[in-house]
Symmetry: C2
Subunit: 228 residues, 2 copies
Amino acid sequence: MNNSLPKAALPAGPVGTASSRVFDNLRKDLVGGRFVAGEKLAINALKERYQVGLSPLREALNKLAAYGLLIQENQRGFRVPKLSRDELDDIAQMRLEMEGMALERAIAHGDSHWEADLLAAAHRLKHADISLDKGEEWEHLHTQFHRTLVAPCGSVWLLRFIEQLHDQFDRYRRLGPKMPTIRQELDDQHHQLVELALLRDAKAARALLDDHIHKSYDVALKRYQEHV
Amino acid sequence: MNNSLPKAALPAGPVGTASSRVFDNLRKDLVGGRFVAGEKLAINALKERYQVGLSPLREALNKLAAYGLLIQENQRGFRVPKLSRDELDDIAQMRLEMEGMALERAIAHGDSHWEADLLAAAHRLKHADISLDKGEEWEHLHTQFHRTLVAPCGSVWLLRFIEQLHDQFDRYRRLGPKMPTIRQELDDQHHQLVELALLRDAKAARALLDDHIHKSYDVALKRYQEHV
DNA sequence: TTAGACAAGATAATCGATTTTTTAACTTAC
DNA sequence: GTAAGTTAAAAAATCGATTATCTTGTCTAA
């Protein structure tokens, strides 16, 4: 084979293992609410659905269980965790504490590179086509924005926990269909957050982020209550 | 087979799957410093060491990677995460924030059942034979004590994160051999923590816990620096 | 001398089949 | 009619072997 093209020129990129691919897809589907909470996973059906063999599938399921998106019970497989009001409250409360902390630190430490990334992320989010592929594109840019916002907080572990909490929170927020009304208000807050971050007004930024999380919580709670 | 003994009478208890057993053992060994940081794991050697087949072993490794006790690199297996001063600082800082928060909430919500558990845990810890099986017994009771201390904080996720941080912290703290001198001082603090918790003095308890973590941090840092 | 190509061996990932355990349906005794 | 016991089917866990990928050492050509 005399293909002299460098690998990077090909569109494919690093394909990754079957296990990592099914992990990504399953995670997306679990967070996006494409499984029923409490449901027991039929492994053979998943094999079909994700077009993988048993071994990589089980490895992905094990990782998701350790991550908290699945419950693993010895000798009786995997199930999707139930949803509860109490847990939603817990998750939202933890988001307030941890993202608030992270935002203050990010504002203290973030450099001009961060400012640029933040502006870019907010802009991309604003122009995302929400109607495209069930808003999957918007969801991704939204996650990316919040990730960027707290990125320079200086703590790898704090970022890790926040990511995990976001995934858990989104299991509630993404239960129902989109609500464009409240959505607009939340979108506006993203830009206000950028403004306050650039002004280095940690106090005001944190207050706004608190409000943002509270409003998101209201949406998530509504979805949950309608869903039950 | 006419064995009429109820299952519970047998000493074995729930044996669990091969995967869960090797997960527990590997976790203990990783936290206990029985692997070299940065080392690449030879899967075949682990198969020998833990007496399991490939599939359950790989499932355990995948879980540990999602949990943060291993690094998984596509197509090149698993390695033990490196240690660094920066990460130790991060972990200790996060412990201060999160355990402090949890302790205040536990003191606010814990009932008399909790008080009893706490006294019992502290007592067991005090009388643990530290010389036994490399102090493994003491380590277990120590973990148990700290777990009990914050147990009624009301947040499942906070407890989960704290547990994870403890495991990470212990990778540093347990690098070298035991230091009986400083150990005594830390042991005393455990009992003082119980006292303050029973008095419901959240402020003082948190201050003492901060100091406790700081002292533990000093130990861990020393170990780390001697170890490099 | 050294960068690149190649081949052989080692390791990681995956597959297909087997073993073990659970679940559910059915029976039988009280 | 209920509860304990039995068994067949389903599902989970594990094993042994295969396939794919990486690593290392050697060689060649500039």
